[in-house]
């Protein structure tokens, strides 16, 4: 019953999306206001129905309803309830339902809360949102029905991939999807503005909070995913340049560029065409990412739905939406007036540099990710790995950091080179001092990229807080705080990355209980190894006592786990976090009688990577609240003035 109700809700939502599209098309072309008046309620109802369908699927998973095929193939009644809940989106159909739910709810939010946009642009935006949703409804209903029944119902399910049985699954995919799909709003805004020929600073001000919100969630999702991969896969790495990781990075790069160019458009009415293009590209990258994951066209650790039929469906959607939006761009952008000019030494220039560098990185990551496809088309089979991305994207990212440090210290429109130079004096001095000090301490022991990374991280950290210099901190607007904290977060994250690749110590040993292992100032005593049992797994657990500098020891418990359903071995790394880094211990196989492989890493300041990611998201959230609050205050004052 619940499954049928969910499916019905999905069909109704799809029908409402079609209705929404038709209402907008007829209302705008025929100038029929009574039709347009119905658009917002329809969008809200559509959002509610998708939420209902999603709630139905969650209920089926929580109840372990084994008459539903998706539950059978991805769940098991013995699973802890959190993984039953999170297992709802730990599979192809469920995650696509999450996708359309986010899209429907985001559309409802645009209908309810967007007040700054001109009415015709607003309506066109909702029409575009309905058009995109429609394609994904069709995809779900025709090729990925999450509510399909199975008869006869088996006694129990096949379980969830053990790598996914982690609290991270409850958090990482939903935030990432909110970010991915949140960018669809920016896409719809761009299409709406192109259709109604309203690309101006008012449009940018209306679009900015939506972009910011999506970007914050995308940042959180990527940060969480990176940490999850770091501790769950047990490889000690935090970024693997896997196609699916790239699929989340590419929309983030585009959204970051968009965030900055939309600010230029909102404040200075410049970069009109470019901003619209980025809004289209950002969501296109989300869709391309989904296509890469779902089609099985590139192999990856994430490829859990290898299916050319679904792949061709998504490819058709890509062709319609991205191709359509780019064609609309080509057709309409010529009618958009050139924006305001600006001079070479100005904040606009720095933001253009930022946008160009982000776009170059985006292009390189895209080419690198698609390289196997490209070469295969010419008869070779070559793929590129982490060294390509590190070497190509690394130096440009460092250049980007320098631009990021300098940008906020420039004035809008026009600045004198001398004055800008004075403001940049302190960060430049820090850069030189850091270069010398780090050079003296570590030259020859670390690579050139980690060296530059450390030096630039120090200098940009100082530069990022310089805009607060000689300002009343209480009077500083919240969005300035947001910018400062986000930029500081970039510096912090870069410092963590550089420190990890420069100073990590790795040791592989075969130890028997009683052995003492010394590495990187740590003393690890292998106490014993014992079997353990959990809800749906058994494990061999090592007790390892770690201490440093004669301090009190801490017990670590790395495990080699065996999941019963589906039968899979996994490693559960043990992590010990200290202020200056993380100790990372992985228990491997039994080497020979009584000796166990153990892999130990000491990673100095590695946690800064995710702390930085969190700061970036926090900065974005502060900027969002700051801008919105200012809008509310202004509106309130205006209302009082009228009264």
């Amino acid at each position: 019953m619940i499954a049928e109700a969910g499916l019905a809700a999905l069909w109704f939502a799809a029908a409402l999306a079609l209705l929404q599209l038709v209402l907008v098309a007829m209302g705008l072309t025929g100038r029929k206001d009574e039709l347009l008046a119905a658009v917002r309620p329809v969008a809200v109802a559509q959002g509610l129905l998708t939420a209902l369908a999603f709630a139905a699927l969650v209920t089926l998973f929580l109840r372990s309803d084994m008459s539903v095929l998706l539950v059978v193939t991805n769940s098991h009644s013995m699973k802890p309830w959190l993984y039953k809940f999170a297992g709802t989106w730990g599979n192809h159909e469920g995650s696509m339902l999450l996708w359309v739910t986010v899209m429907g709810v985001a559309g409802a939010a645009v209908a309810l809360f967007e007040r700054a946009l001109r009415r015709d642009t607003h309506m066109a935006t909702l029409g575009a949102q309905a058009a995109i949703s429609l394609g994904f409804y069709a995809f779900l209903l025709f090729s990925s029905n999450p509510f399909a029944r199975i008869s006869p119902a088996p006694a129990d399910g096949q379980g969830l991939n053990p790598l996914l049985q982690d609290p991270g699954l409850a958090f990482h995919p939903p935030t990432l999807y909110l970010g991915y799909v949140g960018l669809s709003v920016a896409f719809s805004f761009a299409v709406g503005a192109l259709l109604t020929r309203r690309v101006d600073s008012a449009f940018a001000r209306a679009m900015r909070p939506w972009v910011l919100a999506a970007w914050v969630l995308l940042t959180l999702g990527i940060t969480a995913g990176s940490y999850w991969a770091y501790y769950e896969l047990g490889w000690g790495g935090w970024w693997f340049w896997d196609p699916v990781e790239n699929a989340s990075l590419m929309p983030w790069l585009a959204a970051t560029a968009l965030l900055h160019s939309v600010t230029v458009l909102a404040t200075r009415d410049a970069l009109r065409a470019w901003t619209v293009m980025l809004a289209v590209v950002a969501f296109s990258m989300s869709m391309v990412g989904t296509f890469l994951v779902r089609s099985g066209i590139l192999t990856s650790v994430h490829a859990f739905a290898v299916d050319p039929e679904r792949g061709s469906f998504i490819l058709a959607l890509l062709a319609i939406y991205i191709g359509g939006a780019l064609a609309l761009f080509g057709w309409r952008i010529g009618t958009v007036r050139e924006g305001e000019p600006f001079e070479l030494v100005s904040r606009e220039t720095m933001l253009v540099v930022n946008n160009l560098l982000l776009s170059v990185i985006l292009g390189l990551v895209l080419v690198g990710t698609l390289y196997p496809l490209l070469t295969e088309a010419f008869g070779h089979k070559v793929s590129v790995g982490a060294p390509y991305f590190d070497r190509i994207a690394g130096p440009i990212a460092l250049g980007l950091m320098v631009a990021m440090a300098a940008g906020p210290l420039m004035r809008w429109r026009r600045d004198s080179a001398a004055a800008a130079g004075r403001r940049l004096l302190v960060p430049a001095a820090v850069l030189i001092v850091a270069a010398v000090v780090v050079g003296l301490l570590a030259w020859g022991r670390i690579g050139i990229l980690p060296y530059l990374g450390l030096v630039i991280a120090l200098a940009t950290a100082v530069a990022s807080v310089t805009p607060l210099w000689r300002r009343s901190l209480r009077r500083t607007p919240l969005f300035t705080w947001g910018m400062v904290i986000a930029h500081l977060g970039c510096a912090v994250s870069l410092a963590g990355m550089a420190s990890d690749s420069a100073f990590t110590v790795e040791k592989l040993v075969a130890a028997r209980p009683g052995d003492v292992i010394e590495t990187a100032g740590w003393r690890l005593r292998f106490v014993q190894i014992l079997p353990r049992a959990g809800d749906n797994w058994t494990a061999l657990q090592a007790d390892v006592e770690a201490s440093r500098g004669g301090g009190s020891p801490t017990m670590l418990h790395p495990q080699a786990r065996f999941f019963a359903s589906p039968p899979t071995p996994t490693t559960e790394a043990a992590l010990l976090t200290r202020w200056d880094g993380q100790l990372y211990v992985v228990l491997g196989q039994e080497a020979d009688a009584g000796r166990w492989q153990m892999r130990i890493w000491w990673k100095p300041f590695v946690t800064l990577i995710w702390l930085g990611g969190f700061l970036i998201a926090l900065g974005g959230a502060l900027a969002l609240v700051g801008r919105e609050r200012r809008g509310w205050v202004l509106k309130w004052r205006a209302r009082r003035a009228v009264a």
Binding site: M277, I297, L315, G323, F329, G334, L373, L374, E376, A377
Partner: protein
Amino acid sequence: MRKMLIWLPLALFLAFFALFAGGLFKPDDRVITSKLVGQPLPGFALPAGASDRPALASTDFATGKPRLLNIFASWCVPCAAEAPQLEALRRAGAEIDAIAIRDARDDVDAFLRRNGNPYSRIGLDARSSVQIALGSSGVPETFVIDGKGLIRYQHIGDIRADDVPMILDRLKDAQ
């Protein structure tokens, strides 16, 4: 110029679209052709792999007559499954030499007692170095070597019963 730039993103997207569509509908590669086909055998001289067969060197091949070179191991289950097909090939007149990979002579002897011994010569490649030089990535694999010592064909995986006539044809072609 600006006109062109405006349409550039769409053009790029269409190129990507073609690439995607091509990649999506292209069938997977199931047949892999070795780069070493047509090349001479890499030089090697291995110690004897079994107690009742002579050792094997690359110079044993350029004798004017095509031969099969089978790569196997006593610890490899598909190799045991392949033994009847090798026996059938031998009875059809093929001369078969072998390289035992990461193996010990006692184990090879026991394996041949259990599964039969179709080989003329057996070399022992304890560290897989010859196997790697041959571009072979696993056991069992079988190479057709012509009378001049050139590699003519590489068969990856065990030889099934329906593969036997094809292997004999390859041997005939290598005359």
